[in-house]
């Protein structure tokens, strides 16, 4: 990747903006290169051509889970998934939330889901017929596990999902880079099924004690199941409440769970608005605070990186000279 960007002609270099070398950029996004050190980031010089470097083997099967419901798993799946698609990776998002499926709603694809995995298993349709391609980003596809009122046959347990991943692997158009699985809440049969094919997990939690206890439990189960690569996203963070000591800070959360951070998503009213529109936040222009945070999380997911610094507190903006008279 680095070498590719070095090959770019000088003309394109001069036409695009140079970014002054920023040491913090490194601390925020440095890929975890524990095995072999890489040369310093030339890639940060060029903005247009900057792309995150995909780490790990494809397909990266990532399960997005939380234990507690309503903390933002589906929101995370939709936004991280579309961010990855925007970065040029092919993504298949599996809505494994049997019973309470709503990823299709968040993505605005609810009218296009005709077949689900249950129909594929029964032989009512082929797998490619059940995949719903997003029209905005054609490298993003949605796959629902079951219709809201039908029952998922668990006779073969999580094997069905393993077959799905295998089938996606040797598709004609190539193996997808990412398979994101939106896990149902709880630790019931649906959860067990959903985590089966995953080799890494994103744990979504909010900074409150109820969500944290569930998150710890779920992390324990994931580790028992052999998923070792677990990172967390702390959602619905309110820096104003943290400053007033009314809410746990992200670092407190990390101290309790002992997981590395993939992202910190602030509470943002735009999240609900984008849910209503069926238009994920990360496609918003101009970008919103939560949208940017999701995109940064997606970037780190690609590079298998984690946060090195967190935003903790809102500083009052420096006041101008004349605000003295106004106040």
């Amino acid at each position: 990747m680095t070498s590719l960007q070095l090959l770019t002609e000088p003309s394109s270099l001069s036409s695009s903006n140079f970014i002054p070398f920023n040491p913090l950029y490194k601390t925020l996004t440095k890929p975890t290169t524990k095995h072999y050190p890489k040369p310093s980031p030339i890639r940060s010089v060029l903005q247009y051509n900057r792309k995150p470097e995909l780490a790990g083997d494809t397909p990266r099967v990532v399960v997005i889970t939380s234990g507690k419901g309503g903390v933002g798993k589906t929101t995370t799946t939709a936004n991280v998934g579309l961010s990855l698609a925007r970065l040029g990776f092919s993504v298949v998002a599996i809505d494994a939330d049997v019973g309470l499926r709503n990823l299709d709603l968040l993505l605005g694809l609810e009218n296009r889901v005709n077949y689900t995995v249950v129909e594929v298993l029964n032989g009512d349709c082929r797998l490619d017929q059940a995949l719903v391609r997003d029209k905005r980003w054609s490298n993003f596809e949605l796959l629902c596990i079951s219709k809201p009122r039908s029952k998922l046959p668990l006779g073969f347990g999580g094997k069905a999902l393993v077959w799905l991943v295998d089938a996606l692997k040797d598709r004609q158009e190539g193996c997808p880079d990412f398979i994101l699985i939106d896990c149902p809440a709880g630790i019931d049969a649906g959860f067990i099924t959903a985590i089966t094919p995953a080799n890494e997990a994103v744990l979504v939690t909010t900074p409150d004690i109820t969500a944290l206890r569930d998150a710890d439990r779920v992390t324990g189960l994931l580790e028992c199941d052999g998923i070792r690569d677990i990172k967390m996203i702390v959602n619905r963070v309110r820096t104003d409440l943290i400053r007033g000591e009314d809410m746990m800070s992200v670092l407190d959360v990390q101290e309790m769970l002992g997981l590395s951070l993939l992202g910190v998503i602030p509470e943002d009213s735009e999240v609900i608005r984008s849910t209503n529109r069926g238009f994920p936040l990360v496609l918003n222009k101009p970008p919103t605070l939560a949208g940017l945070a999701f995109e940064q999380a997606a970037w780190r997911l690609v590079e298998q990186d984690s946060m090195k610094a967190v935003m903790v507190e809102e500083e009052p903006k420096k006041r101008g000279f004349f605000s003295f008279f106004g106040g």
Binding site: L24, G99, D128, A189
Partner: protein
């Protein structure tokens, strides 16, 4: 000591009395502004002295002395005022008013008007020249983007091409010393993450001790017998009325796996149903029970499933019939009961 205090106290009362005088003077001198400034200055002095005077109690002791000084100072002030006013009047007279000077020369007025007109013209011409090339460059890639044929995000020609990098764009600014970040107009302090690998491992060990869990290897309906080769600890019991899961499946595991892996062609169940129907038809044809039967759309609907391939199926049936020389005739009375019963079983099977 007392006299010292009274001396300092005098000016307090001065402004009030003088001010009445000044008002009297005003109409004569036509002089307003300088008075106000002078008055304001005195007010400040007044305030200051009041503050000083409040602390002393001796101020009220000799009112007569006070009065005497007052008259004296009043006279002084009047003198100063008259001096200032006369000086100001002199300067005003010496200065020729600007508007008068313009009015006096009609040529300069004309020149001024010309200057304004010329500058307006230059601005207009410049704006026109700047706009012209844009019209000439019609049909560029930007038009394709506008018509929705191209994705602007990929081309880098839209307004916000820089935004693809979430760490480095106009809305995310990191301060020089890496201590704060500005996102969407808000400044946040940055704190380093301190979690170490060792701490992570400690947490992992704690969890593995706290949550001992074995992945269930088999899902069984409550009440089912546990198979002999299965560890009872790894059985997950699914209640019969589970909201979204069932242990019952009408197809075997291998078949389901094949269904998932199938890439081309007709899906398994569609194929199977088609074949079953065809077999049935052939059996019926063998029995020669088509004679004197009238087509019934109700029966035809029995065959339909919400798949397009069924249309093909019906066509084939009609073809078969016509091949038999019985165009427009369909099985009716006797086969109907047989078909509807078999159809319903095949429909209900998957939902159980």
């Amino acid at each position: 000591m007392a006299s010292f205090w009274t001396l300092q106290l005098h000016p307090i009362s001065i402004p009030h009395r003088v001010s009445t005088n000044a008002f009297e003077l005003r109409p004569q001198l036509g002089f307003n502004k300088s008075y106000r400034i002078w008055n304001a200055k005195n007010k400040y002095k007044d305030f200051f002295l009041k503050a000083a005077g409040n602390s002393s109690t001796s101020g009220e002791d000799n009112p007569i002395k006070d009065e005497k000084f007052l008259i004296k100072s009043k006279r002084n002030v009047m003198l100063v005022l008259q001096n200032q006013v006369s000086r100001l009047q002199e300067t005003i007279i010496s200065l020729p008013p600007i508007i008068l000077s313009i009015k006096s020369s009609p040529y300069s007025k004309l020149a001024l008007g010309f200057c304004i007109a010329a500058s307006v013209l230059i601005v207009a011409v410049r704006a026109y020249v700047a706009r012209k090339p844009r019209y000439q460059r019609q049909g560029s890639v930007a038009d394709l983007v506008r018509r929705g044929q191209l994705n602007s995000d990929r081309r880098g020609i839209s307004k916000t091409p820089m935004y693809d990098d979430p760490f480095n764009n106009p809305l995310v600014k990191i301060s020089k010393n890496n201590s704060s970040v500005e996102m969407c107009g808000k400044v946040y302090r940055l704190a380093p993450v301190t979690l170490t690998r060792e701490e992570q491992n400690i947490h992992q060990k704690r969890r593995s001790r706290a949550y001992q869990w074995k992945r269930p290897t088999i899902f069984l309906k409550e009440g089912d017998p546990v198979p002999a080769d299965v560890d009872p600890d790894t059985v997950r019991w699914i209640p019969a009325n589970h909201p979204f899961a069932t242990t019952i499946s009408d197809i075997t595991e291998d078949l389901a796996q094949n269904n998932v892996y199938q890439k081309h062609g007709v899906p398994f169940r569609i194929q199977a149903e088609h074949e079953a129907l065809q077999k049935k038809l052939e059996a019926l044809q063998g029995d020669q029970k088509f004679n004197n039967l009238v087509i019934d759309p109700g029966t035809a609907r029995n065959f339909e499933r919400p798949f397009k391939s069924n249309i093909k199926l019906d066509d084939q049936q009609v073809e078969h019939n016509s091949a038999n020389g019985q165009t427009g005739l369909r099985p009716e009375s006797q086969p109907k009961s047989h078909e509807s019963s078999s159809n319903s079983t095949s429909e209900e099977k998957p939902t159980q």
